[in-house]
Structure formats: structure tokens, C-alpha cells
């Protein structure tokens, strides 16, 4: 929780990692990719405030103690949602698997929500693994990387028939939330990894599922906005928007927030620090303090008040994940409903 000026914020960090990218986990022969990947992450890290930066050594493999300290002791986080990233072609045990995350989550009951993943190209075996993970870990969400390469395939779309089989299975298993990585990516050769058109179809065909588009489609925020505004069950995951822009490019951050507030709305935006890319502390504090800079270029963007910040920082994600929120953090009755789906609007395409 975070308290400022008499206001109490319940914080759900909806996007965190617990990775091992140290050389002991690199696949022989793939070292340049394993190293290149974590160095690429490290360049993002450099967009945060200087006093929050780590050495590359620590960044490659931070400890359980680091994680608990950075998130819960000083980071104001009440509950953190773990989003796995496999990358087993480069990292022997995977970069950040469901199992690795579970090793931490199970030691600290109530602190973490454990998401799993699927890849529709895994066929029936993947469906079984998905069911096993849900049975074992009680997962209510999945994190999907549609741009991941596999055995000569250059990625997939969430609207593919095979993916629909998995989404149907997700519903049967009680998974409600589908997080899609639509953002900076690695292999965008043919398949346009930023393209969010597939989410548009899937969101329409699976109205009971929530689709949280992580990194809001960066670098194609506009495509995401134009799609999300028409789909009641599509949400904006703010990981990277906050970490990458709020400190380094405050004026662009303000514009991006303005656009998201206009097209998507405060009920459908979720905070994510993307830890360990960045620590949550400065992001939580920064968002609570945030307002548009002076200047008429921001005048016609929707304002973000205390209630909206409470929704974004935790109440929206708490609603999506049925995380109990103590009464003192709830909104007053007239401040709207977190994660409400009803502000989608039809925008005719031009």
C-alpha cells in the first residue's frame, strides 16, 4: 500500500518477472542471443532514474531477497502478478518460467498471483500442460508471446483456430485474464508482432475473457487505442509506458497517458512495473504525484484524479483477479467501478 496526502492506494503490480539471465543459464551455442536479450532489457533499465539503476551483474540474476525488498518492503506493492517468459531456446531453464516463479510465490502466500502461459503450436501436449499448471498453481491468467519463434514457425496469432482451442480450454479451466505481449519484440520478420488485429477478433469471440494488452502495443500505441476503444473486454497494461517514459521523457509520457485516458479510460488501465526491468517504488510514487505538465497541448486530454490513480495502481487489476481489497482502500460510491467494461465506444474507421 501507499499513502500520500491522506489518500490510501492499494497497489497491484500486474506485471513482474523473476528471471535468471546469468551465464550459468545460457544455452551453449546461443550465448550471443541470451546475452543480447538481457543487454537489451538493460538498455530499458537505463531509462529509469539514476539512483534506481543496478549493475549488469545484479540485473542478470537478482535474488529472492532483492525481489521481496524491492516489491514489498519499499515498493509499496500489495500483490504482484508474475508473468512468465520462457525463451527456452536461449536459456537452459527458461528465462522466467511458471515453475521458477512458483518457487518464489509458494514461499510467500498471498503476495503473488501466479500466471502461466501457453503456445498453441504445442498441440494436445500443450493443452495438457496448461491444465496441469492450472491444477497445480491455481492460475487465473496467462501471458502470451505471439511473436515467439518455434521450430521454424515465425509466430502465431491469437485469432488462429489452434489458439481458439486454447482459449476455449482457458475458459473451462477458470482462466479469466489473457495478457498479450504486444510491444517491443525480437523477431518481427514476417508476422507483424505489434499488430493487434488478432486481439480484436479474439476479444469479440471470447467476451467472457479479459484481454490485457501489455505495453499497449508500443511502438504502435495508436493501433492499440483504435482497437481497444471498441472492445469492452480489452485493457491497457502500462508496463514500459511508466518505466520507459515517465522519468526519461515526461512530456511524451503525459501525451501517451492522455491518449490512453481518452481512448481506453482509467477503468481499463493497469499498473505494471515490469520488475526487474524497473523497480516499482519510483513508478508508484511518480504516478500518484503525476499531472500533466503546463501547456495547452495537454488541455483537451481527460484529467486523471485520485480515484483514477487508485484504479490504475491496483483496483482495476484487483477486480480482474478477484483480489480482496480492504475497505479503507476502496473508492467512494460515486467514484465509478474499477475495471468497468461499459465505457467502450464505437469509433468508425476512417
Amino acid at each position: 500500500m501507499y499513502e500520500k496526502d491522506g489518500e490510501k492506494y492499494f497497489v497491484v503490480d500486474a506485471h513482474i518477472h523473476y528471471w535468471n539471465a546469468a551465464p550459468d543459464n545460457w544455452v551453449p551455442g546461443q550465448e550471443q542471443y541470451a546475452k543480447g536479450w538481457i543487454e537489451c532489457f538493460y538498455a530499458y533499465h537505463g531509462l529509469g532514474p539514476e539512483h534506481t539503476r543496478w549493475t549488469l551483474d545484479k540485473y542478470m540474476k537478482y535474488s529472492e531477497q532483492d525481489t521481496m525488498h524491492d516489491l514489498f518492503e519499499v515498493g509499496h506493492v500489495d500483490v504482484a502478478i508474475m508473468q512468465p517468459t520462457y525463451l527456452k531456446e536461449w536459456y537452459k531453464e527458461g528465462f522466467n518460467t511458471t515453475e521458477r516463479n512458483a518457487g518464489l510465490a509458494e514461499k510467500y502466500p498471498g503476495k503473488f498471483v501466479l500466471n502461466t502461459r501457453f503456445d498453441p503450436r504445442d498441440g494436445d501436449a500443450g493443452l495438457k500442460e496448461l491444465a496441469d499448471n492450472v491444477a497445480r498453481y491455481g492460475c487465473k491468467g496467462v501471458k502470451l508471446y505471439t511473436a515467439e519463434w518455434k521450430d521454424g514457425s515465425r509466430g502465431w496469432k491469437v485469432s488462429d483456430p489452434e489458439a481458439y482451442r486454447y482459449l476455449e480450454r482457458c475458459q473451462e479451466l477458470g482462466i479469466k485474464n489473457v495478457h498479450l505481449h504486444k510491444g517491443p519484440t525480437i523477431w518481427p520478420l514476417d508476422k507483424d508482432a505489434f499488430d493487434v488485429a488478432d486481439v480484436d477478433h479474439a476479444a469479440t469471440d471470447f467476451p467472457a475473457l479479459n484481454f490485457i494488452v501489455e505495453h499497449v502495443g508500443l511502438p504502435r500505441i495508436e493501433d492499440f487505442c483504435f482497437m481497444a476503444t471498441q472492445e469492452p473486454n480489452v485493457y491497457a497494461g502500462l508496463a514500459v509506458v511508466l518505466g520507459g517514459l515517465m522519468h526519461a521523457r515526461p512530456r511524451f509520457f503525459a501525451k501517451v497517458m492522455g491518449e490512453l485516458l481518452f481512448w481506453v479510460g482509467e477503468d481499463k488501465m493497469t499498473f505494471g512495473s515490469d520488475y526487474g526491468i524497473w523497480e516499482p517504488q519510483w513508478q508508484v510514487e511518480g504516478l500518484v504525484d503525476w499531472d500533466y505538465p503546463p501547456g495547452e497541448e495537454y488541455d483537451d486530454y481527460p484529467r486523471l484524479g485520485t480515484a483514477g490513480k487508485k484504479k490504475i495502481l491496483g483496483l482495476n487489476a484487483a477486480k480482474l483477479y478477484d483480489i480482496p481489497v480492504p475497505a479503507e482502500y476502496q473508492l467512494p460510491a460515486d467514484a465509478g467501478t474499477p475495471a468497468a467494461r461499459d465505457d467502450a465506444q464505437l469509433v468508425e474507421s476512417t
Binding site: Q32, Y33, G36, W37, E39, C40, Y42, A43, Y44, H45, G46, L47, G152, R154, T185, I186, W187, P188, L189, D190, D192, L218, P219, R220, I221, E222, C225, F226, G244, L245, A248, R249, F252, F253, K255, V256, G258, E259, F262, W263, E296, E297, V347, E348, T350
Partner: protein
């Protein structure tokens, strides 16, 4: 002007297709040398090891085309440094192979469509740049619907918008409408204008934010200034 100056000028016509800015201004030109015999060697660098290879390929290929036609350059070599696909891109461009051939088995089709998609975004972003001051000066959206290009004060932003439209084959003459659909080239009707302008603004925000992130990451990766790099 030395040959090197001319090479740098040529490189300033090469844009990152996604950010719509010259590779020089973005700091992507790590070095540029021309030997007395006219051998030009240009090294390009990008914000990360995993920057999208399709965009990287376009920049290296465009740089090759621009540099090799400079007066005084006998032979041009463009090298993309420290990128996971450096070898495929450098070899492909040097061999004058297309993208699909350079990434045989990994890519299908050339990148013309991708380039056109981003030019359309540049047209929309440029529309916001041109129209925002007009609206600020008191014109209404419906006023803009009736304007032709030559009715608007000439600015760098307007020139740039016209060039992007011309690149796409969209109407860009003096008497053509100021506001056109970036796909069809048809004039935007007054009733569709508010949404068109709103979208134009979002596209501009997206490109600018993306540029901010890319330039910030480049600075983390390389602390020295590129040839022709503009201040952040």
C-alpha cells in the same frame, strides 16, 4: 564540401521508417570514413541488439543506395554493428539481395508494404503537426475541410507532409486538399474530420514517444554522439 560531407548529407536523407527521422539526427551513424580513393565505409548502430531486423534492413539498404550515388564515392560499404542479424543484413545489402533473399527461410516478401504502412503513419502525424497551429489560430475543423494545400502558410512541417504524401503517390499539389485519407487519397469530409484529427494526433504521439524511448536506449548503449546526431 568534402566527399565525407556529401556522404553525410546523403545519409541525412535516409530515415528510420518507423520513427520518420534521419538516421543521422537519431545518432544511428556510428562512423563515416571516405578514403582518398573514394572508398566510403559507414557504420550504423541501433538502440538495441534486437531492434526489428526488417527496419534495420531498410535503413542499411537505403544507406547503401544513398551513399553509393554520391559524387566522389567509388565504392560504398555499409556495416550494421552489434545487431543479432548484422551478418544477414550486411551480406544481403552488399550482395544487392532483397530482404527475402537475405533472410531466406525466415522472411517472405519484401518490405514495400511495411514502408508504405509507416509512410501513412507519417502522413497522419504530419497532418497533426500542420493542423494543430491552424486550429490554434482560430480555424475550425470544418474550415480545414475546405482548405487546399496552397491556402496554408508554408512551413517545414507542411513541406515534409507534402513529401510524404508524394512518396505514397497521394495528392500533394498546390490545389489538392489539405486533408486526405492516407490510404485512398480522397479528401476527408467535414463530418469525418474531428475523428481524423484525433487519430492524427494519436499517431503523432505514438511516433514521438517511440522516438523518445529509442533515443534514450541508444544513449544507454552508446555514450558517444553519432555523426550528425541532434541533441535530445
Amino acid at each position: 564540401m568534402t566527399v565525407k560531407d556529401r556522404v553525410l548529407t546523403a545519409l541525412s536523407t535516409v530515415r528510420d521508417p518507423e520513427l520518420d527521422e534521419p538516421v543521422t539526427a537519431l545518432g544511428f551513424v556510428a562512423s563515416c570514413e571516405v578514403s582518398p580513393g573514394g572508398d566510403a565505409e559507414v557504420h550504423l548502430r541501433l538502440p538495441t541488439y534486437f531492434c526489428a531486423p526488417n527496419f534495420a534492413f531498410l535503413m542499411v539498404a537505403d544507406a547503401y543506395d544513398a551513399v553509393s550515388t554520391v559524387d566522389g564515392v567509388q565504392h560504398a560499404v555499409i556495416v550494421l554493428d552489434e545487431h543479432f542479424a548484422s551478418d544477414a543484413i550486411n551480406d544481403g545489402v552488399a550482395a544487392r539481395a532483397g530482404f527475402a533473399q537475405a533472410f531466406a527461410g525466415e522472411a517472405i516478401g519484401e518490405l514495400d508494404q511495411l514502408r508504405a504502412d509507416f509512410l501513412r503513419k507519417a502522413v497522419l502525424a504530419g497532418t497533426d503537426q500542420v493542423c494543430r497551429p491552424l486550429l490554434k489560430s482560430g480555424l475550425t475543423a470544418s474550415d480545414l475541410a475546405t482548405l487546399t494545400i496552397d491556402a496554408v502558410p508554408r512551413t517545414a512541417a507542411l513541406d515534409r507532409l507534402r513529401r510524404r504524401r508524394a512518396d505514397l503517390g497521394l495528392p500533394s499539389g498546390d490545389g489538392d486538399p489539405l486533408l486526405v485519407d492516407p490510404v485512398t487519397g480522397a479528401a476527408v469530409a467535414a463530418e469525418a474530420l474531428p475523428l481524423h484529427l484525433r487519430r492524427a494526433r494519436t499517431v503523432r504521439t505514438s511516433i514521438e514517444a517511440n522516438t523518445g524511448i529509442c533515443r534514450g536506449m541508444l544513449r544507454v548503449r552508446y555514450d558517444d554522439k553519432g555523426e550528425g546526431e541532434e541533441e535530445l
